[in-house]
Every structure is written in C-alpha cells, then in structure tokens.
C-alpha cells in the first residue's frame, strides 16, 4: 500500500560492527518477517512480480478462457505441453504461484492498512501543531506588513476565519507580542488512500468467496426448442463451491425465432452481421408466458439469472429413414460455424433403427458458391443452401455409456462410405431433397422447414440455433460497489493536497504589525506556493511596501 507521500521508507539502520545483537526468538523472527512483508520495498517487489507473473497467461492458452486452445496446444506441442501443465501454465490465474504472489501482496497490504488506519484515526483527532519559530525557512513563504491599525490578535482572528472557511482545521497559538494560527487540511488524502486499499481487499474477498455462491451454465437452443432451468437441461454447468441445486428457479425459456440482419449496402462489409435478435418466450414457475428479446450486449435478467446470447448458427433438420421408409432419426442438428460466411460443420449420429450404426460428418453452406468441390459459402444468409454429408458406418462408441461429444465423431471403429478416398461422392442435398444412403441402408433427407417451402426462395428453409449462457452471481453488485469505492478513494488520495499552513502576526517595537504566511507540503502538493500566496492575498491584499510610507518626495 502506498505510504502517505510524505513518508519515505527507510531501511533498518545497519547494526554497527562489533555489536552483538540479541538472538531473535520465535516471536522475534515472526516480527522480523512481518516487518519485511509489510515494508514498502516488499510491496513494490510483489507488485512488480505480480505484473510479470500475469504475462505467461497471455502467451499460453488458458483453460478458463480458451479450453479448446489448450487442447490444440497439447496436440501441437506434445512434448512441451505436459511440462507446462506441471507448472500450471494453463491455469496461471488460479495457480499456486500466482495465488501466492497476490495473497502475500494482500497480506502485506492489510498489514499496512491496519496500523495506518489507527495512525490516521489519531491524526484526525489531534490538533494542528505548534507554529514553528522561523516560518521563513519553509518552502512556501510570504511576508507582508499591515497598516490597517488592527492588532495582531485581530488580524489572526481574521486569518483563522478565512482558513476555516477554506476547510482548514485551525488552532490558535498566541504568545507575547505575536499571534499565530496553525492550520492543516487534506486529511481526505489519507482517508481516500485507506478507502482505496480497503476496497481492493473487499474486491478480492468478494470475488474469492462470492464466486462460490453462483453458477454458470450453457445451453444451445434451436428455434422452437424450450429449455427448463434445471440442472438436467443444461448442456454444461459450472456450479460454484457453495451452490445448491434448489436455488434454480425452474422457469421455461423458448427460442421462438432467431433473427439476423446482414449489411447489404456497404460493399466493404457486404454480408457482415449487424444485428442478432433472439426472440424468446419466458415463463416463470406458475407465471404467464412473456415475450422478450435477448441481444448481444443486452442480456435478459430473469428470475435471478442473467441470460446472455453468445453464439449462433444453422441447425439443418435431417431425417433418416430405414429401407422400409420408417423414420429412425429426425432432428435439427446445430452445426458449428467455421468462418464468417457461416460454412458450418456438424455431426449426425444415428445409433438405432438401421442395420448398422451410422455417423455422418456434415458441412453446411448457406450460400454454396462453387461449381464443383471443394465447396465454399459466399454469403452467410440462405441464398443457395447446400448440405454435404460423409457417411460412416460401424460402431459409434456410445454403447459403453461413456460420454461422447455431440460435436465430434470418433471414426476409429467406423468405415467411411462416402466422400474422401472411398470413390463414392459425398451426399449433397438442398433443403427439401432426399437421397439414398449407400449400401441400401435407407434414405436421408434435408428437410425444408419454411412455412411455404420453395426452391426459388430458401429464406427460412433452415432453422437457426442460438447458444445461451445462464449466469447467477449474487456478488456482482458488491464487486461493482467496491470498485467504485476504490476509484473514488484513488482519486481522492492522488489529488487532494495535504498541507499545513501558518499565519503569524508579530507586533514590532514601533507598533506596526508584520504578517507571515507559510505552508508546508505533506506529500505531493504542486499547488502549495500558489495556495499560500492566495491566502496571503485574500488576507492582506497589500504586499510589503518596499519603501517606508509617507516619505516626502521632492
């Protein structure tokens, strides 16, 4: 923690040679370490160490923010990755060493805040100090004389009032033949400093413990699908340490429609998405359905949770029938976007109903623009949608009950039937088309879900999906409150000037009164001289005349 700027840390005096220091006992050592830890030098060292320690987390992908990047890193650097993982390089910000640094820093900070709060408390209650004998030694000093005929006491009475008005705390120190006022201001500087550092501790504690009470969950919804806010209905769920399932209000949320607006006028950004709208219907437990819209930057705050729109894409509806024409699979599968024109990749798994288990790796092109493979998409909206499927048969590997990602197909135990090196062309479908699966396995169709299906206009022929994050963090507002407190404390501690000012009136032997104004900075105070001059100016507008008054000039 920053000392008041008038404080400069000094190293402990070095013991002179030949002096036998008493042996430090256990308590002595503890005290020694505590002193070291709470010294400014250590705090500065820990701060700089914290800055350096934060760097690796930006160079290596982190599990918390980029889990796929970590997986990729392991694939790309099979030798280095396990070593890095040993030193927690993929979890830098929750690693033991990073935590050690900031915890030590905060202990050092607390060890500094507490004694300084005590010190400040006493300072707040003490009176301004006695007026120094020789004010002229101070860096800001003005001398004036008074010819108004007022006595020293009267003049200092005025000065006292003036300083009080300006927010100074004042104390009179009068003596024989002279009167003076000692004034001090700017205690808010240290108050701000203490508030700032305490607020930082507040943020750390709130984040550290508060995070345990919340949760975050992810859910992908295809248009028309409904999600119920229960543990089972999430695709993934990360509860905090103290989270209790009963806290989930079982509300319903239906994605009615996902709307996208594309730029069509600016040719430099042709096809860029400029608006995403998830139109949803929410139903509180026991309540009536209500419409709402969730947008990027505009989450839905509902039933104590915040629902964010994070991703979106196409979810082609695919139906697989057996050779007799019986439907064995029909679903809208979210395909993950691979590029800005929404070329999308999806996996279809048909475990039951056919002679063999079937897996399909599909590519979806909202506007397929190539005359022959390789295909690509030239526009993200549905101008000429095409779905291609590579079919695999064999063992999907899901019978053992081990969880498998719905976005990946394990083809180790499967045989490729179309595409690639098989010599059989990939299945290629536009919405509304149906075709035979290889080896007489059955048929597969790409369903057109538009209200009025047409091959002229494909608008609405393929469903869209949206991925939502549902969060609950009861401490968020506390963090905000502490942050605002920290910022206001910081501003106060850096810009309020703490200074002492003295005004002294001395009655000379001839009965004239001379006035002295002086100021002493207590920390950074670039405006000290100007402030003292202004006080003198307001109190005694006439500077000391350079020549005695009343001299007769010829």
């Amino acid at each position: 923690m920053s000392r008041p700027s008038d404080h400069i840390d000094s190293a402990a005096p070095a013991p002179a040679d030949g002096i036998n220091q008493p042996k430090l006992g256990f308590v002595g050592w503890l005290r020694f370490f505590w002193r070291q830890l709470t010294s400014m030098r250590t705090a500065l060292f820990l701060l700089l160490l914290l800055a350096i320690a934060a760097v690796p987390g930006s160079l290596v992908p982190q599990r918390s923010s980029d889990p796929n990047g970590v997986t990729q890193y392991f694939t790309d650097n099979p030798d280095l990755a396990p070593i890095l993982d040993k030193v927690q390089a993929f979890d830098v910000y929750s690693s033991a060493w990073f935590s050690a640094i900031y915890l030590l820093l905060f202990i050092s900070l607390i060890g500094c805040v507490i004694p300084r709060t005590k010190h400040h408390w006493l300072a707040l209650r003490s009176r301004p100090p006695r007026t120094p004998a020789r004010l002229s030694r101070l860096s800001a000093f003005e001398r004036r004389s008074d010819d108004s005929g007022a006595t020293a006491t009267e003049l200092i009475d005025d000065a006292t009032k003036q300083l009080k008005r300006q927010g100074y705390r004042v104390e009179r120190y009068d003596a024989e033949g002279s009167a003076s006022v000692s004034a001090e201001r700017g205690f808010l500087r240290e108050t701000g400093n203490l508030v700032f550092h305490s607020a930082l501790v507040g943020i750390l504690v709130t984040v550290g413990f508060g995070g345990g009470f919340g949760f975050s969950g992810q859910r992908v919804l295809v248009e028309g699908q409904t999600f119920v806010n229960t543990l089972l209905d999430y695709d993934s769920f990360n509860p905090g340490r103290f989270f209790n399932e009963s806290e989930l209000a079982p509300y319903k949320l239906t994605l009615d429609e996902f709307g996208v607006t594309y730029e069509t006028e600016n040719l430099d950004a042709y096809g860029q998405a400029i608006d995403y709208r998830a139109k949803v219907t929410t139903t509180s437990p026991g309540g009536k359905p209500q419409d709402a819209t969730i947008k990027v930057n505009d989450p839905l705050r509902f039933e104590g949770t915040d629902v964010y729109l994070l991703g979106n894409g196409y979810a082609p509806t695919i139906t697989v029938r057996d050779p007799e024409g019986k439907v064995v699979f029909s679903d809208s599968i979210p395909f993950l976007p691979q590029d800005a024109q929404l070329t999308s990749l999806g996996i279809v798994k048909v475990p039951d109903g056919l002679a063999e288990q079937l897996g399909m790796i599909g590519f979806f092109y909202p506007t397929q623009a190539a005359s022959k493979p390789p295909f690509f998409s030239s526009y993200p909206d549905l101008a000429y949608p095409v779905l291609t499927l590579n079919v695999y048969s064999g063992d999907l590997g899901i019978n053992a009950g081990a969880p498998k990602s719905v976005y990946a197909l394990d083809v180790d135990d499967m045989k490729q039937l179309t595409g690639g090196d098989t010599g059989v062309e990939s299945i290629e479908l536009t919405p509304g088309q149906i075709t035979d699966l290889p080896n007489g396995l059955g048929t597969v169709s790409f369903d057109n879900v538009a209200a009025n299906p047409s091959t002229e206009n494909y608008a609405g022929s393929v469903k869209r999906f949206a991925s939502f994050d549902v969060h609950h963090d009861p401490t968020q507002l506390w963090v905000l409150a502490f942050a605002i407190l920290a910022l206001s404390g910081l501003i106060t501690s850096l810009f309020v000037a703490r200074r002492r000012v003295w005004v002294k009136a001395v009655t000379g032997s001839d009965g004239t009164v001379s006035l002295e104004y002086a100021g002493l900075a207590r920390g950074e105070d670039p405006g000290l001289e100007a402030a003292v001059a202004a006080i003198a100016e307001a109190h005694s507008p006439t500077p000391v005349p350079s020549e005695p008054e009343g001299r007769i000039t010829p």
Partner: protein, 351 residues
Amino acid sequence: MTLVEISNLCLWSAVAVYALAFIAFTFDLARRSAEVTAAIDAAERAELERSAAAEERVGALASAAARTAAPIVTSDGVPRKTRRPSDEPEQQASRKSPSLRVGVSLTVIAFLLHLVADVTRGIAAGRVPWANMYEFAMTGTLLIVAVFLVVIARVDLRFLGSFVIGLVTVLLGLATANFYVEVVPLPPALQSAWLVIHVFVASLGTAFFAIGFALSVVQLLQGRRERRLGLVQPTQSSGRLRFLLTLPNAERLENLAYRVNIIGFIFWTFTLMAGAIWAERAWGRYWGWDTKEVWTFIIWVIFAGYIHARATRGWRGSRAATLAIIGFSAVMFNFVVVNVFFKGLHAYSGL
C-alpha cells in the same frame, strides 16, 4: 469527394505537418545545444580574459537549471510576487526561439487537420471513430496531441515537442499505412454505449501515459547527466545532448511526469472498470483473463508500482522513471502486439 476521402486526405496531411513540426522542435533542441556550446566556449575564453560579461551569459543559462535544481528557497525579507512555480525553468532560452514557435504552430495546424480527419471519419461511419485499430490509432494520437497542447498551455513543456510529436508522427504514419480499413458497420458485440466510454477513456489514459513517458525519458537522460557531473556545475557540458542543460532538472521532470502519469492511472483504472462492466453485458462475465484483460491488468499493476516507487527509498528518480517507461511500452505492446497477434475476445482490430 466523399467524407472518407476528405478524412484520408486530412490525415495524410496531418502526418506531413506533424513531421514538419517534429523537425522544427528538433531544430530547437539543436539550437539549444549550440547555444550551450557557444556559452561554454565564451566562458572558457572569459576565464582566460577574466571577462565578466561572458560569465554572465553562462550564468543566465546555468541559473535556469540551477534554480530548479534546489527547492525554491526565498531569502528572508524579499517579498515575492505570486507566480506559478511551473513558470520557473529555462523559459528565457525558449521564449526567444523561433523554431520552437514554428513547431508549436505547426503542431496546432496538424492537430486541426487531424481533428477534421477524425470527425469526418466518424460522420462517414455514423458512429464514434474508434472501433478498429486504424481508428484507435487515429483517435489515440489525436488525444496525445490534445493533451500535449493542453499541458504546454499550462506548463512550458515545449521542449518535449520532438519526443511527443515524433512519437505521434511515427505511430500515426505506421497505423495509417498498415492498419487502414474501410468504414464498416459495427458488429453486434461493439454496439454498446460502453464502446464510446471505455475505448475513449482508454485512449485518454494512453495519451497521458505518452506525455509521462516522454518526460520520463528526458528525466532519465537528465538524471544521468546530473549524476555524472555530481550536480555541481551545470555549465559543464557533457559531450552529447548538450541541450539538456537548458531543460528542467531531473527532479522537476520527475514531478511533472508523476502528475501526468497519475491522471493517466486514474483513467486507466476507470478503463479497467468500464471494461469489466461492458464485459459483463457482452460476454456474461466481468473478468475472464482474456489476453487483453490480462495486459490491461499488467499495465495497471506496473503503474501502481510506479506510484509506490515514488514513496520507496532507493526507487525515487531513475528507477521510477524506468517503471513509467516500461509501463508505457506495455501500453504500446497491448495496443499493437496483443491486438494483432494474440488470440482473444478483443478481436476488433479489423485487420
């Protein structure tokens, strides 16, 4: 001519005029060095000839440096008119300088061109002109110059011209040449009032850090010179960089740098907080150690360290200045390298 063309033309013109201003400022530094050399030569001759007049000339230059070297002490009984302490240094030398005035005038002209470029870009885009790397650079450098102009209106720091305007010329030229992108609409993630606040305040903080950086660089040079001379005879020149003799002493430079840097630090703190609030709205969490968040945090910690260094024995002076320089370098790294090469959520470079 379309608005964008006007903007581009104004911007290139601004770069050209900044370059001229830089030359003028550099000219002034060269003139200062030459004057110092001349004064020293004269002094040496005076030494030989015991000429009092020449000594006076050196004294005038030396006193500028000396006056700021020690805390201002007034001798007893001498009434003094109210004056800002910031008016102290080297002014006599610089007030006479035509190249310095030309430098400032050219800077103002370039600033106006730059401002027109920025505003027309914003009007053409129908939004604030800071939504991609090119625009960040354009507005950020505009703010650096704005802060510089505001500062020199209050304190005579015109000698910083060649450092600040040189930096601006290079940054703006590089950004215009490498980061230029056509006007495109905002992606949904950037459609937020926080774009206006968060990015603007970040640029403003950067501008203050830039001025602080320039001051700290001069402070280091000055400090090195002072240490070498033991601070006794400011008239003794030390080979290169003789113009340093006409600049404020290291302590004053440090105080100035500190005042500028703490303003930058406040803005940076606000940037961090506003960013967290925006992140919560856009991404559903207020802090997620995204690469850009990490670097913003690192910069914050470095400058926090800088402020603490000022109150730590042995760290005041050159070490603190080094921290400020590292801090500003981290700001630049955060802007260029992190934006362009690092993977993260702040992928708005538009490149």
